[in-house]
Amino acid sequence: MQTIDLRGVTCPTNFVMAKLELEDIEAGTTVEFLLDDGEPVKNVPRSLKDDGHKLLGLKEQDGYYTLLLEKGAD
């Protein structure tokens, strides 16, 4: 599974980077994003959901978050 590390990237750059990464991924594929605590973990999942992707889960480890997501159809 592909892991996209968005730690250290602030809003909205992290969301735009996530969008760009998702462009090269096939619909239905599961990917994970690494997100910082605070604004990123609050904003990025919601924005990706708005874009039509399916959120599958969120895990915290060592002070950051792993968001599991299935790419939606365009």
Binding site: V41, R46, L55
Partner: protein, 314 residues
């Protein structure tokens, strides 16, 4: 009587404001919710170019003000603005043009259609004489409250009440992580809701991957009695989840109370009348038609200590 150079009916609602220079006025335009089409904006620019100073002023309450307009040109200004349905606003002791945020159509935080509410209130209540002082209304689409609802005579704030379908919940924890107010925490893999902490922002609903969270109620949180100016007051809570379609009636009910209770008080804002009469009086009045929405009790408008005059100043 001298021959009238201008149509005095245009002046009825105010909106033509005396400037320093002889014969010169500011013309305040009516832009409810601060939204206007680019065509209207272009028309305003053309009129400002022709009759004004070469610049406009964006008022604090989302209006465009034409500067340095000679009073002899009022009729022409009104007529030319009318070609794009642009009207002149009000000033004085009247219901002012409502302000609003962008609302829910394109702003991801917006919970209610504030633009629609602002247009409706503008259409039905704009310019209503209060008999006492100005009367300001605003619409915020969510608890971020960019329009600052609590410093309006009646301020509306979009709100949703969340409800969980436990069977649809996958226990991902995104809602608890999104809740800024600490109203949601995860226990045994499921969210636990502490209703006392919820401010109705709906972030849990927006982030929920499976739509397990949904809006059980939607409407406006209403604060009354706020103002800014020389003696600021913060409006206090009178109602929750007032449906969008009841907004005009709600404001009309507040107005009726103000018109009656401020009789003889002179130029006094609603908040100061509430302090004088007691919040119970207004709450009781609103309970008649809005019993499902008014709160059990509130407080008087909160006085903001602005530290002037300096204490102990001779």
């Amino acid at each position: 009587m001298a021959e009238q150079k201008i149509d005095l009916r245009n002046l009825k609602a105010g909106g033509f404001i005396k400037e320093r220079g002889k014969d010169l006025f500011t013309v305040r335009l009516r832009v409810p919710g601060g939204r206007l089409s680019v065509d209207r904006l272009a028309k305003i620019a053309a009129v400002a170019q022709k009759y004004g100073k070469g610049y406009v002023h964006l008022s604090v309450r989302q209006s465009i003000e034409l500067i340095n307009v000679n009073f002899a040109d009022f009729d022409a200004v009104v007529a030319e603005l009318g070609e794009e349905q642009q009207k002149v606003a009000s000033c004085g002791a009247r219901v002012r043009v409502p302000t609003a945020c962008g609302g829910c159509e394109y702003n991801p935080n917006g919970l209610v259609d504030t633009q629609k509410s602002a247009l409706e209130v503008d259409e039905k209540l704009f310019g209503t004489a209060t008999g006492h002082h100005k009367f300001k209304v605003c619409f915020a689409g969510c608890p971020f409250d960019c329009p600052k609802s609590a410093i309006n005579d009646v301020g509306f704030q979009g709100a949703v009440w969340p409800s969980l379908d436990a069977d649809a919940c996958i226990g991902c924890g995104l809602c608890a992580k999104s809740c800024t107010e600490g109203a949601l925490a995860m226990a045994d893999g499921k969210p636990v809701f502490d209703a006392k902490k919820c401010i109705y922002c709906g972030d849990c609903i927006k982030v929920c991957p499976t739509s397990a969270w949904s809006a059980a109620k939607k409407g406006y949180t209403v604060r009354i009695g706020g103002k800014w100016g020389r003696r600021p007051l913060i409006g206090t809570l009178y109602a929750t989840f007032v449906p969008e379609e009841r907004v005009v009636d709600f404001i009309a009910a507040v107005l009726a109370w103000y018109q009656e209770k401020a009789e003889g008080a002179g130029r006094v804002r609603l908040g100061d009348i509430i302090i004088r009469e007691g919040w119970q009086s207004l709450l009781n009045h609103l309970s008649r038609d809005f019993a499902d929405f008014v709160v059990a009790e509130t407080t008087a408008p909160q006085v903001i200590v602005n530290q002037i005059p300096l204490p102990g100043q001779a």
